[in-house]
């Protein structure tokens, strides 16, 4: 790994200033960035740790619903969201393994937008708001394809605000070696309709399955999915599963999520 200057600001304002310098990059839990730097796929000149900023830590209830600081580790979300948003807590508690969950953070996961990551599906299915040091971004505008988001140079996530659905569930089909999702589905039922977000499956990253949303908004039961199918055209195909396999898996997992919600 190339060397860099390490800085650890104590406030959002200080971090904003530090991330304006040339070659600066944010570091949260490091569970994705450290391996990337070891492979020299990232080589920042300055690494700005966001883990020392009190305003970016913790889970609390607020005007949108459940407000989560971007630097909150998965293990803390698993524990503290359990009473308010159990499906989200379960998702956080199923990421990687205990050691990964003690370091990895929601902000890092949502910023990275890995096509097989868990959190993006919860953010999209909940219609959450991504708050940055500059603005608020609706989930529907935030995710822009594989590893691509609406974040601009020097912009970083400070909080994610989740409306709390009436019913929800996340069902993940583990890729057993990496423990990431081979495919996973987050279903959230709100008073004004159902949102279904799929991760792990598509070449375009996390996406909403519109047909399932319409069918489930009319009838919230796994049977409502009977006549639907997922287009395999843009699905990921690799040695762990073909595109057709993943397309079918998405339908099966959606049904399981509805039954579990």
């Amino acid at each position: 790994m190339y060397n860099f200057e390490f800085v650890k600001p104590a406030s959002i304002a200080e971090a904003t200033a530090a991330l304006e310098s040339d070659g600066a990059q944010a570091l949260s839990g490091g569970q994705t960035l450290l391996p990337t730097m070891k492979q020299r796929l990232a080589a920042p000149d300055v690494l700005v740790s966001l883990t020392g900023i009190a305003e970016m830590q913790g889970v609390c209830l607020g005007d949108v619903g459940l407000h989560i600081g971007a630097a909150t580790p998965h293990a803390v979300v698993a524990r503290e969201a359990a009473a308010h948003y159990p499906a989200l807590a379960k998702l956080a508690g199923g990421i990687g393994d205990p050691a990964v969950r003690n370091r990895g953070t929601i902000g890092g996961s949502v910023a990275n937008n890995d096509p097989a990551a868990c959190y993006p599906s919860a953010v999209l299915a909940s219609g959450a708001t991504v708050v940055t040091n500059r603005r608020r971004i609706a989930a529907d505008d935030y995710f822009q394809g594989l590893f691509t988001t609406a974040l601009e140079e020097g912009e970083f996530i400070t909080q994610v605000l989740f409306p709390i659905p009436q019913k929800a569930a996340y069902v993940k089909f583990n890729q057993p070696a990496s423990r990431f999702a081979l495919a996973a589905v987050f279903v959230a039922k709100f008073a004004d309709g159902v949102r279904v977000a799929v991760t792990g499956a598509s070449n375009g990253g996390v996406f909403r399955w519109a047909e399932a949303e319409a069918a489930l908004s009319a009838n919230f039961s796994a049977d409502a999915l009977a006549g639907l199918s997922v287009d395999a055209d843009d699905m990921i195909s690799d040695l762990h599963g073909t595109a057709a396999y993943r397309a079918n898996l998405v339908k099966v997992l959606t049904g399981r999520a509805v039954s579990a919600a």
């Binding site: 790994m1 190339y2 060397n3 860099f4 200057e5 390490f6 650890k8 570091l27 490091g30 569970q31 450290l34 391996p35 730097m37 070891k38 690494l47 740790s49 883990t51 293990a75 990687g96 393994d97 205990p98 050691a99 990964v100 003690n102 370091r103 423990r179």
Partner: protein, 158 residues
């Protein structure tokens, strides 16, 4: 190079380190605590697990500077004050929870963290908690037995 201070196994320590110094390297090369093993260096195997403020983390995937000031416990800190093996370590020996021993420091640190959170885990809970710790030798059965025994639950004899 800047100086990093932290508490390791109850003692205040400090050493010079670069920005890129990993916690695993700081412990092994900076402090000579080579009980923490580096197996994969890619956050897969868990051989390098240590506790930071009581929580297990993979020390190969944490920068030393990011945990400056923290309270760190390594495998060297798991023995009793008189130097005899701690409860989890002794259970690993009694139940043959190791063969080559390479994974053992991480296994013991993860197991101790589990028992601190959940003093009487079920077999399934032990297996789930150790998902991020890989062992090439034992086939895991004796490791699981050792953890159950360390929790004071009776385990079937060989």
């Amino acid at each position: 190079m800047t100086k990093i201070s932290m508490t390791v196994n109850g003692k205040s320590v400090s050493a010079e380190a670069e920005g890129r110094t990993l916690l695993s390297g700081f412990l092994r090369e900076g402090l000579g605590l080579t009980g923490t093993h580096v197996g994969c260096d890619t956050s897969q195997c868990g051989a390098c697990v240590v506790h930071v403020n009581g929580k297990p983390v993979k020390s190969c995937t944490v920068f030393a500077h990011d945990v400056a000031g923290a309270n760190v416990t390594t495998i060297e800190g798991m023995a009793n004050a008189d130097g005899s093996l701690g409860v989890v370590q002794q259970a690993f020996q009694d139940h043959h929870g190791l063969q080559c021993g390479f994974c053992t420091p991480g296994m013991v640190m993860s197991s101790a963290a589990l028992l601190a959170e959940n003093p009487k885990p079920t077999e399934t809970e032990v297996r789930e908690y150790l998902e991020g710790n890989i062992c090439r030798c034992t086939g895991y059965h004796n490791i699981v037995k050792a953890v159950l025994a360390a929790s004071g639950q009776s385990v079937a004899a060989e």
